[in-house]
């Protein structure tokens, strides 16, 4: 952020700190910011994740500056801004994950697979916005009506994905033995196997556990 602020050209994933001119990354009153986001377009969602990260990085850096202006030393200024710094990193990582997911779609040739994985990617991006809607709203990246629109869109995606849910987990191709779960076994025969598993519990090695003879029975004679 400091290098970008000093006009240095950054390389790699953080180069977005160059792209956004600092006026735009200032938190703006919502009314002042034209928000043209197509919530069905992953590329534009990646864009607002990027702006959110840039804004949060900027806010963390500002917090450090303010602390330094109170004559704090660098280390204390850093520690007093740690919450903002963690939040900025989290936003940066979130942006990277959304971006990589979106990029990956470009590599998927099969149309049916592309369609279902695109729905997953869109759900991932929209759900992330819902969970962090405060950031996006505060930064003026989205309007309240758009956040509501996203909630509706998420519900549509849930029903859209519903028919493929089992096939999508089957695609992980986790062998039954590796999954090691009665509830998740491939054939879905859960209850009969759960009963059989329970019967193998060491506690069931005898019909009457020895503690009955050692404690419960003697207890009766004393009462």
């Amino acid at each position: 952020y400091q290098q970008a602020k000093a006009g240095q050209q950054l390389s790699g994933i953080v180069s977005y700190l160059n792209e956004t001119d600092h006026r735009r990354v200032q938190p703006q009153p919502v009314s002042a910011r034209p928000t043209v986001v197509d919530i069905n377009d992953l590329a534009s969602l990646v864009e607002i994740y990027k702006l959110r990260a840039a804004i949060l990085v900027g806010m963390a850096a500002k917090s450090i500056q303010q602390e330094l202006q109170h004559r704090k030393n660098q280390a204390d200024a850093w520690n007093n801004s740690a919450i903002d710094l963690v939040k900025a990193s989290d936003a940066h990582c979130h942006y990277v994950v959304v971006k990589l997911f979106t990029d990956k779609l470009g590599e998927i040739g099969d149309t049916a697979v592309h369609s279902v994985v695109s729905s997953l990617a869109l759900l991932y991006a929209l759900h992330g916005i819902t969970v962090n809607s405060g950031d996006f709203l505060q930064a003026g990246l989205l309007s309240v009506p758009q956040v509501l629109q996203i909630s509706v869109r998420i519900k549509e995606l849930l029903s859209q994905l519903r028919p493929n849910a089992v096939a999508l987990v089957d695609s992980f191709d986790i062998h039954n033995k590796k999954l090691n779960s009665v509830l998740g076994r491939y054939d879905g025969n859960v209850y009969e196997n759960m009963f059989e598993w329970a019967r193998r519990s060491p506690l069931n090695a005898t019909e009457v556990h020895e503690s009955f003879y050692k404690y419960l029975k003697p207890l009766r004679s004393k009462l």
Binding site: S89, C93, V113, V190
Partner: protein
């Protein structure tokens, strides 16, 4: 097959095999992964008692047995590719950690990376053949991610040309390393190096801790298991206290940093060398997050397809749980996250192998960004997956609480990823440092 789940599969709108190929990175990799898995799963030598029904000691014993078999079979089949070794190993131990994890994953690679030629000649083959069983002891009872805070000392004695390894306080006792308690007879110990009255920071020393024949702890060495934990029942996370233990000068790993016989210290060419290992391990952990979340969502979604309860339309039969919007809202974003993390894991692996070549040529230019990114992504994905496994467990209702669901084991064996190899908050702040600097 259960009728519900059969119907689910008939309704799918895409070819599962094609998506599996994408997740594996290609059809050939799918084929090879399955070959390796079936090699293990059909091998009677790896039959096991259900760990849920065993005591801790029996679980450790079973894990050591399987690890011993695994070492033999890996050689027998000539499996040498790290990815394939990883796949074989995780199939043998069903994704759980195992007592030789640190010997294979830290001790041997550290020898390869930091031992000079004499040390390689002396230590490598015995380690390869498990005469030496090693672990990697860095974390202390009172100190973890902040390496400068570690208290263990290695003081050079020019008169005898030996280092004196010492645990000066209780908080300096090495604590947590896997395989340290009962399995290993050597440890690579990270200690503050003192020579000619100066401290030169953390360096690595090969310290014998048990007799190679009797396995009895050596004089001055206090070593044992740290006791039961939340999970990790199969491995002997241990403690190591050193009471002025002397080791030859040649036991300091000296490929980079050196101490001459008279005690003169020579700095390593670049402090960034250890970054590479950290980036590699954190990239693997991102993959771990993806795998754990894939398992958890598989269990929860399949069970939600066969479990019928309550009602949506009055009077109608109990619907599949998966038809409730609330169940979908719990699980489908996590399913999407599992996919997201698989692709991030692939990216991290590809990027690391792409720039490893540069690193070996001495070009570190991309390493700082990758180091910052891998730290952040390790924290981001493990925190998310950790919370997500718990959501999946709860979404299975009461049965999620039974060990038979596999979810309790999955959770207790995954959650350490949030603290080991760098505590997550510290990781996030490392990424922040790079962001603010950038």
């Amino acid at each position: 097959m259960n009728a519900d789940i059969l119907k689910e599969r008939q309704n799918a709108t895409f070819d599962v095999e094609k998506l599996t190929n994408i997740l594996d990175g290609g059809p050939e990799l799918t084929k090879r992964r399955r070959e390796i898995e079936s090699m293990v799963l059909n091998d009677p030598d790896f039959m096991e008692e259900d760990p849920n029904f065993l005591s801790r000691s029996e679980r450790y014993d079973q894990a050591v047995r399987k690890s011993a078999q695994m070492i033999l079979k890996l050689r027998e089949y000539g499996i040498a590719d790290p990815e394939e070794i990883y796949c074989y190993k995780s199939t043998v131990h069903l994704g759980k950690p195992e007592p030789l994890d640190l010997h294979l994953g830290m001790f041997l690679p550290t020898l390869l990376n930091q031992a000079n030629q004499e040390q390689m000649d002396r230590f490598f083959m015995p380690s390869w053949n498990l005469e030496i069983i090693g672990t990697y002891a860095q974390t202390e009872m009172g100190h973890g991610t902040h390496l400068r805070g570690l208290e263990t000392t290695a003081t050079y004695d020019p008169a005898t040309q030996e280092f004196v390894l010492n645990s000066p306080t209780v908080s300096s006792i090495k604590w947590w390393p896997g395989g340290l308690g009962k399995t290993s007879n050597h440890a690579i110990v990270l200690a503050q190096l003192y020579t000619q009255g100066n401290c030169h920071g953390l360096h690595a020393f090969i310290v014998p801790i048990r007799d190679m024949n009797t396995h009895v702890p050596l004089p001055g060495i206090v070593v044992g298991d740290i006791g039961p934990k939340f999970g990790f029942d199969e491995i002997d996370n241990g403690y190591l206290k050193m009471e002025n233990v002397r080791i030859p000068r040649e036991n300091m790993l000296m490929k980079y940093a050196k101490v001459e016989p008279d005690g003169t210290y020579k700095k390593p060419p670049s402090a960034k060398l250890t970054y590479g290992t950290m980036v590699f391990i954190r990239s693997m952990i991102v993959g771990e997050s993806a795998r754990a979340l894939s398992k958890a969502s598989t269990i929860a979604i399949r069970y939600s397809a066969v479990r019928h309860q309550s009602e949506i339309r009055p009077g109608e039969p109990e619907p599949q749980i998966l038809d409730f919007q609330t169940q979908q809202y719990k699980l489908f974003p996590l399913l999407a996250t599992a996919y997201a993390f698989i692709f991030v894991g692939q990216y991290m692996k590809d990027t690391y192998s792409r720039i490893s070549g540069d690193i070996n040529q001495g070009d570190f230019s991309e390493l700082p960004e990758l180091h910052a990114l891998s730290a952040g992504l390790k924290a981001f994905t493990t925190w998310t997956a950790n919370a997500a496994i718990e959501v999946c467990r709860m979404s299975c209702g009461g049965h999620g609480y039974s060990r038979s669901s596999g979810l309790p084991d999955l959770y207790v064996n995954f959650t350490p990823t949030c603290t080991y190899e760098g505590e997550n908050t510290v990781m996030m702040l490392q990424t922040a440092r790079y962001l603010v600097k950038s």
